[in-house]
Structures are given as structure tokens and as C-alpha cells.
Symmetry: C2
Subunit: 537 residues, 2 copies
């Protein structure tokens, strides 16, 4: 049931931009004029003529890899190495745009399946080659940049999982599907849709990100209120490690000691390569309804979300923009998020609420949620804002590229805490960003995910890039991370640790937690070849 480039598959991303080049339309004149009112506009194109550093891996090692996966699946050409160099955070893009390809992998290897991965890992361990698993290339926390300095490793191998795109098993009785890691979001959904089923995981990177990446980074999607975080959908994993394979998940939940699935979920390629993910699937929804709600303040809207979550009354989608983000979305319907202003109120905070399922289930949930939100002071705005949000939900990264093209720095970051700490975290992170980037910077925020006990905060920042946008951003990111740590929140809700958040992880899990991660790493990767420099403090 493997699919070969179906119609749902977007073209491969260029090295310096997000997504499908055909969808990169540039900044519309109207938007450019609007942005120019706030920020200095300066055309800042990406350099296109940059050479990739010479590959370091000795030819006999490359031959050894060819013997395992076949010569045609071992690629050393510069164009592909360049596309495998970094992820899609703004720092990654800025480095690529300015021509910094210092971290390019030496070789790209494309295994056909689990056995190939096992063999490649055994070889990499024996010959001491760093292995960086590569799925959709959408990492935003530096997870694709192996740090081999001082390790004595012979080079870096980008393990491209693009050939591992099968639906390996479907159990309609148990409502589970076993998927290969290289399946991108739309491909996985297309395979399941043939059986009337879906996964229901829609992060903003949905069009490019892969099943393996969702699992390895604990992804969360726009419908996670209704369908759960990706880690909550996973019931079983197969992982290849340098010391052998591990299959976890003999049952939905059990008391057979620690849940080791939860140790490999979020392991970011540092403990092994996830070669099969078994997830809960659901019937395709018959009905989808999205609508807008308006709140007097961010705090009022957040309290309403909390009330729903604590009553176990969550819709499928629920997200709330703060005052700044609401104002931006109203000013520019084509902008980030693109919710538009169907209500016309132009004030307060906008919430998007979505319902999916059978007609009966949607009607029942909608009635109960509408009653609750109305009682809490929300103003229903109908389907206009909801439809606008659906229309633009995967487009923000394209806009970012267009803004980078005119010298405007745009980046996001996110965190999560308990409800009682929400306001404190919000104010601290906002202040840290505003103080570092200056008064002209725009700091927007929305609550993207809610739980009974807490919620995530997702910040979007736009600021003048200046002569060196990377140098402009990094101190702001550091200040935001320090504010998150100081507030006692998690350094990331759904973007993983990578290399960018690694300096802050010990503050969150403690010295003993860090020692546990190092001990597990040593047990499954004694030679330290898996994604060196990523995750492990």
C-alpha cells in the first residue's frame, strides 16, 4: 500500500524557503505598503550561488553504505546535500539565505525500510558516522544540525526516510494503522481516507512534516483539542537503534512498568530511528464547522477555554488570539493566520472554534459549547472567521519568506504551562521579546492548545531585521527562553528541543533527569552516532 508521489504530495522545498516554490507569490503590494508603515522595507534576497562544503566522508565508507541500500540510494551531490542541511526555523533560513552551509551532511542515504535502517545504523556505529534522520525537513529548533566537533566521528549521514512511505497495516476493529515514518501528513491522510479513516493531525507544517517527525518531536496539531496530541494518538512504535530494534506497545495502556513508548516519543533521533508508528485512527468526519467568537480580553477568552477543558467539553479546534494578534488579523485578512474580520467589531480577542464528526455529535457538542461560551460572555461571530482561518491555516510560512525578502524578521516560539501560571508566563515572555527587539517590534500571541490543567502560548514576532537579522533575533530568543525558564514553564510545547532548546532542558528536568537521558542514550547508542548534539543535555 505504499504510495509514490500521489497528487497530495507537495514538491520538495527549496533550500532557503518554505514549501512549494509555485505558491511563493511574494508580498502583495498592498501588504508591502502596510508593512512599510511599521518597518523599514529593504529587499534582502537569499544568496543562490553558495557552495556546499566538500564532503568529508571517505569513499570506502560511502561504498559501504552503497552496499547496504544500493548505489542509487546513496547521494552525494551538492544540491541534495544543500537541501538536507537545515530545517525551517527563521535562523535556519537566515543562515541558508546568507550562504552558511557549514553543517551540510556529507552523504544522503535513503533506506527502503526497517531492515535497511537497522543495517545502516549498525554500520554507522561500527564506522563511527553521525546519523541525522530526515523526514520532512521542517524542524524549527535546529534538530537537523549534527554537532560532531570533538566526537571523532568520520562524517555526517543524512538518513532520508522518503522511501519509507507505506501504510504497513490497518486494523479496523482496533481502529489502528501502522505507518512508515517518511509519510508526509497529506499522504498519510490520503492512504487512510481510502478506507474512510483519518488520523486528524494537522500542525502548521502538515503539508511537509512526516509521521516519524510527528512522533520524534511530540508534535501537536490544530485539531489536538478534539483528536489529541500526536503522542497521545500513538499506541505502538518500532524503533531501530544501533544495538538492535525495539517494539513497544503491546496494548493501549498497561502497568508493565514504565511506559517506554514515552521515552522514544520525543527522542528526536537521539535514541534511534522510528521505523513504524501505530496510531489510533478515526472515521472521516461527515461534518466540519468552524466559527469565530469574540471576547472582551485575552484573559476572558482564556478563562472560557479553561472552563471548557475542565468540563471535558472541548470542541475539535479551539484557539484564541490575544489583542495584538487579533488586531493584525483584522488589519490584514491575508496575513498570519488570516482569520479576517467577519464580525466587524475590530476589538477584543478572536477565538476560532471548530467541530468535526457525525452530524449528531457535532450538533450536540456545538449546542453544549455554544451555551457554555455564551454564558461566559463570548459573542458568536458565525462561520466567516472560521472559514477564513481554515483557508489560510497552512500559509503563514509562505508569508514569512516574503517578509524575510523585504528585511522584516518574523519568527515564532511557543511554550506551555498550567492555567494558574498562564498570565505570568504570557507577560514575562512578551516583555522579554519586546525589550530585546525594541518598541517597534510586534509581539503577537495565541493559545493554540488547551488541557484541563493548562495551555500553550504561541508567540509570533515581527521586527526590523537590521543589517544582520540573525544577530537581531538570537538575543530575543535567548531572552524569551530565559523568561520561560524563570516562569517555571516548559521550554517547548510542540517544537521539540533540538539544539536550540538544549541549553534550557536541564532547568526543566533537573540534573537527575538529564542523567537519565544520558544513561538511556549510552545504552542504545554507545558510540554516540545518533543526532549528536541534539536533545541530550
Amino acid at each position: 500500500m505504499t504510495i509514490e508521489r500521489p497528487s497530495v504530495l507537495q514538491p520538495e522545498m527549496p533550500p532557503t524557503r518554505w514549501g512549494d516554490p509555485a505558491r511563493a507569490t511574494g508580498l502583495p503590494d498592498g501588504v508591502r505598503d502596510l508593512v512599510g508603515l511599521v518597518f523599514p522595507i529593504q529587499d534582502t534576497p537569499a544568496r543562490a550561488d553558495v557552495e556546499v562544503p566538500a564532503a568529508r566522508l571517505a569513499e570506502d565508507l560511502v561504498d559501504g553504505l552503497r552496499a547496504i541500500v544500493g548505489a542509487e540510494h546513496v547521494v552525494t551531490d551538492d544540491a541534495l546535500r544543500r537541501r538536507r542541511t537545515r530545517g525551517r526555523s527563521t535562523p535556519d533560513l537566515l543562515r541558508q539565505r546568507s550562504g552558511d552551509l557549514a553543517d551540510a551532511p556529507d552523504v544522503v542515504v535513503r533506506p527502503s525500510g526497517h531492515d535497511d535502517v537497522v543495517a545502516v545504523l549498525a554500520y554507522a556505529q561500527e564506522r563511527r558516522i553521525a546519523v541525522v534522520p530526515f523526514g520532512g525537513g521542517t524542524a524549527v529548533t535546529g534538530g537537523l544540525v549534527a554537532d560532531t566537533e570533538g566526537t571523532g566521528l568520520a562524517g555526517v549521514l543524512s538518513l532520508d526516510l522518503g522511501r519509507m512511505r507505506g501504510l504497513l497495516a490497518l486494523d479496523p476493529v482496533s481502529s489502528t494503522a501502522s505507518l512508515e515514518p517518511g509519510l508526509r501528513g497529506p499522504e498519510a491522510e490520503a492512504l487512510l481516507a481510502e478506507h474512510g479513516l483519518m488520523l486528524g493531525h494537522f500542525p502548521q507544517s502538515f503539508e511537509y512534516a512526516t509521521i516519524g517527525g510527528f512522533a520524534a518531536t511530540r508534535s501537536s496539531g490544530q485539531s489536538s483539542a478534539g483528536y489529541g496530541r500526536f503522542d497521545a494518538m500513538v499506541v505502538a512504535l518500532r524503533v531501530a537503534t544501533p544495538v538492535g530494534e525495539v517494539r513497544l506497545g503491546a496494548s493501549p495502556a498497561n502497568a508493565s512498568g514504565p511506559d517506554l513508548r514515552e521515552l522514544f516519543l520525543g527522542s528526536e533521533g537521539a535514541f534511534g530511528v522510528i521505523t513504524e508508528v501505530t496510531v489510533r485512527v478515526r472515521p472521516l468526519p461527515e461534518v466540519k464547522e468552524y466559527e469565530g467568537w469574540r471576547w472582551a480580553s485575552f484573559a476572558d477568552g482564556a478563562d472560557a477555554m479553561r472552563a471548557l477543558a475542565q468540563s471535558d467539553l472541548l470542541p475539535t479546534v479551539i484557539r484564541l488570539s490575544d489583542e495584538n494578534e487579533t488586531a493584525i488579523n483584522l488589519a490584514d485578512p491575508e496575513s498570519i493566520g488570516g482569520q479576517g474580520d467577519a464580525g466587524g467589531a475590530g476589538q477584543g480577542c478572536q477565538m476560532i472554534v471548530g467541530y468535526e464528526g457525525t452530524p449528531a455529535a457535532v450538533a450536540a457538542k456545538k449546542a453544549a459549547v455554544t451555551e457554555a461560551l455564551t454564558a461566559l460572555g463570548g459573542a458568536a461571530q458565525g462561520s466567516g472567521p472560521g472559514d477564513a482561518w481554515v483557508h489560510g491555516r497552512f500559509d503563514a510560512p509562505y508569508l514569512r519568506d516574503s517578509l524575510l525578502d523585504v528585511g522584516v524578521l518574523v519568527e515564532t516560539l511557543e511554550t506551555v504551562t498550567f492555567w494558574g501560571n498562564r498570565e505570568n508566563l504570557y507577560l514575562r515572555v512578551k516583555a522579554a521579546l519586546q525589550e530585546t527587539l525594541g518598541d517597534s517590534a510586534m509581539v503577537l500571541c495565541h493559545i493554540s492548545h488547551v488541557y484541563a490543567t493548562g495551555c500553550s502560548l504561541y508567540f509570533t514576532v515581527a521586527a526590523p531585521g537590521g543589517a544582520d537579522p540573525l544577530a537581531t533575533w538570537l538575543p530575543a530568543k535567548a531572552a524569551a527562553c530565559e523568561a520561560i525558564v524563570a516562569a517555571g514553564a516548559s521550554i517547548t510545547h510542540h517544537h521539540a528541543v533540538g539544539t536550540d532548546h538544549r541549553p534550557y532542558l536541564t532547568a526543566e528536568i533537573g540534573e537527575v533527569g538529564a542523567a537519565v537521558l544520558r544513561a538511556v542514550k549510552k545504552a542504545v547508542d554507545p558510540a554516540g552516532v545518533l543526532n549528536p548534539g541534539v536533545l541530550i543535555p
Copy 2:
């Protein structure tokens, strides 16, 4: 907010029986006559005059412990050592009843709080003393029996958490409460009820089992369909280890690498002592309704449970007895489970369905579930069976003692699998038990917990104990465990690994999984003093 023996606290259990001695009424004559129709009846009292082996711990070590927690909290008297020797599995009871106290701890130490535990663990590591955490003493898989043979350890310390019974913090905004590990179920609920809140975790051991034990063994309760397994309620943990403390849970859920909470949940005292558990709490339900449903077969009822779970339409309580268990419950309303036969049909399989919450939420859920179950072929039986179940829900262990008193062997075991494997697992385990124990044995089963992707199977066995009931049972337990492994299911759904299931764990998590557990163990317990012989393959 610590409570000292409130009215909700049951008296300490005697060494050879379950629960409150005042509630051990013996087998009613009518039941004795009924049992006598099936099994040979022979009075088989527990031996009461058995001496506890002499304590092995050198006096200077005991003095060292006294210096840490105070002399009055270091107990070496035989009566208390005897009560701390084993848990409450039938093998544990049979060994105690026959006078086998070989595994008695050498000393019982009662820490006052987290700092005491840290100090005791550091001392135990330095002086090489085994530490067995003791909460309610309700372990049923041999988790209280330290195996020090060949370890060179100086002796065994029972770390009695009975002084650690505080509600340490309550955050009504986040709906979380931080509880000390020694709180028994009713105590925790009483503390929360003062604030109009509840935890909602009701395993059969509820009256004695403790918060720390719930977390360390991944307990599941009778209301887990609605309120979740205990591990799912936990948002944060504080754990004392020999190498220092670890605090986990900066947020409800995040992408900060592996979820290390899930490594300490289910760690059964082998990775550390859980000293604080922060859980999601809920408002006390205003309404509770329990009712019976009757199904033509176990498979029909199971399919209905599956349909509810896969529609995300689970009530608070849902459990289904197979034909054998239904018949037994109908024959004897005072018997195991005690559901009675209000419906009078006397055939098929009985399901208990319970709803708790606000009147509106209960009415809405009940209407939807009733419609679904009716459409699936279920017959509603009204509140009679539900009320009978509520009345007797914590009484089965008392009946077991009475049956052991007359020479009838009674024990339970449980497992969990995906829906597609339910029938296979059921038939295999049932056959293994029946074949080992003989035709006269009664093998009953119910589904106690359901998930979207699978369910647990909880077996109860009654058989003639013979001259040596322990020797009768152990081969049957081994055969059942082997059947579970052969069926690819989990060796336990909610009773933990302990020592009894340890031989089967590697089959479930693989050699790499076992190596990971050993690596973590070595990192946090380098001297191997924590619960030696438990959990780790």
C-alpha cells in the same frame, strides 16, 4: 493540611487477611453450602504462632537510621515487621497463612517527608541497605519482597510512608492538587472533598492503597473510563533517588524531549521513592447513576463497549462480565462483584454502566449512551444491578479470605490488548487456567477498562485448593502468563510487574527495552538498593 487518622481511615490490615478485621464476617452458611456443592470444603485456618526471622541489620546501622528520622520512627518489633512482609495477592496470603515469613524486612522506617526520604536513601546507598517503599501494603504481584540474595546488601528496610499524608498544595485555577504518597484513597478524597473536589480513582484496593502506590504501579480504577487511569491523572511528580531528587512536570504536556514522568510512573520503587504526586482534580459530581445492561453474549457486549470508546462516548463506569461471571453474580448476590439480578433474565452477560457529573452532563451522556447501546442490542435493566455493584464494589477481597479459610483457592489476574486480539486473548488465557486447574475450577472474566483501541480482561478463578493451595495456583498463574505472552498482550493492565511478572517483561518490551530499564536503574540507583528483584528484568 495533613490529616491524622480521620474517620475515613480503615484500621491496619492483619498480616494474613485483607482489610478491617471487624468486616471479616466469615462465609455465611448459605454461601458455604453453595460453595460446598462445587468444591470440597475444609477448614484451613491461618497459622497464628509463626515467628518472624531474626532481623539481620547491625545495630549501628539501625542507630544511623534513628539519627535520621528519630528513634520512635525506626521500628524493629516482630509484629510490625510481620505486617510489612508481603502484599495481598493470594500467594502472599497463602505464604503468610502457612507461616512463611522468610522475606520479613529487618527494620521499618517511617520518614516524615521528602527530606527524610532523601536522607534515608543516601544512607541506604552508602551503607548498602535494601529499601522497599511501603504504602498501603496492597501489592498483588510480589512488589514488597526484596531479593537480596547474592547482592551483598546488609539487610532490608521497609520504608513506611504512612506519616507522609499531606495535601501539600491545591491550585483550583489549574485544577491540580499535590498529594503526599502515603495518603490512602479515602483520605485523599476526604481532603479534596473539603474543597468540593475529587480525584476519582477507585480501584478495588481503594480503601487501603495509597497515592504513591497508584503512581508507582500505574493503577487503574473502576471509574477510569470517565476519569482516566491514574497515570493519566498525574501532571507532576517529585521523586527521591539515591543520587538526588527529580521534579518532573513543568506543564500538562510538552515537547521537551521524552516524557520522563512516564518513566517514573510504573517504576515500582526501583528508580526512586515518589514523595509528591500532582494530579488533576475535578468538582465532586452532583449526580451519580449506575445501571445494568444485559447482552446476549460477551462478544456482543464487548462490541458495544468498543463502539462507545471509538465514538468517544464513554460513561464514567463501564464493565462487562462474561457468561460465567454473570451466572455466578446472579447465583449469589453477596458474591464477588455482588451485582445481583434485578433484571431476572438469568442469561447472557451483564454490563454495569455509570454516569457521574452535573445533572446536565449526566443527562446528555446518558441519553447518548442509552441510544447507542439500545441500537447495538443491549437491554436496559435499570438501577438495581448498578446499585448492587456500588454496594459491594470493595468487598471481594473479604470474600476471598473466607474462601481461603475453607480451602477454596481464589485469585485474580488481568491483562490488556487491542480490540482485534480480545477474543484470542480471552480464549487462550481461559483455556490455560482451565486446563491447569481442572474441570471443577471456575474461570470468570470481565472487561474492566476500555480504550478506543482495546480493553483489559480481568479473570477471577476459584478452584479446590488441595493440600497445598500455593502449589495448586502457581502452575496455573504461569500457564496464564505464558498464554498472555503467546497472545502478544501485556502481562498486566493495572497490577504492575513486581516479582511475579518479571520473568515475562522482556518478552513484552524486548531486549533493548530491558537494557534501557537497567541503564536507568544504574543511573539513579548505582548501588542497587531500591526494591532489588522487583520490575527490572
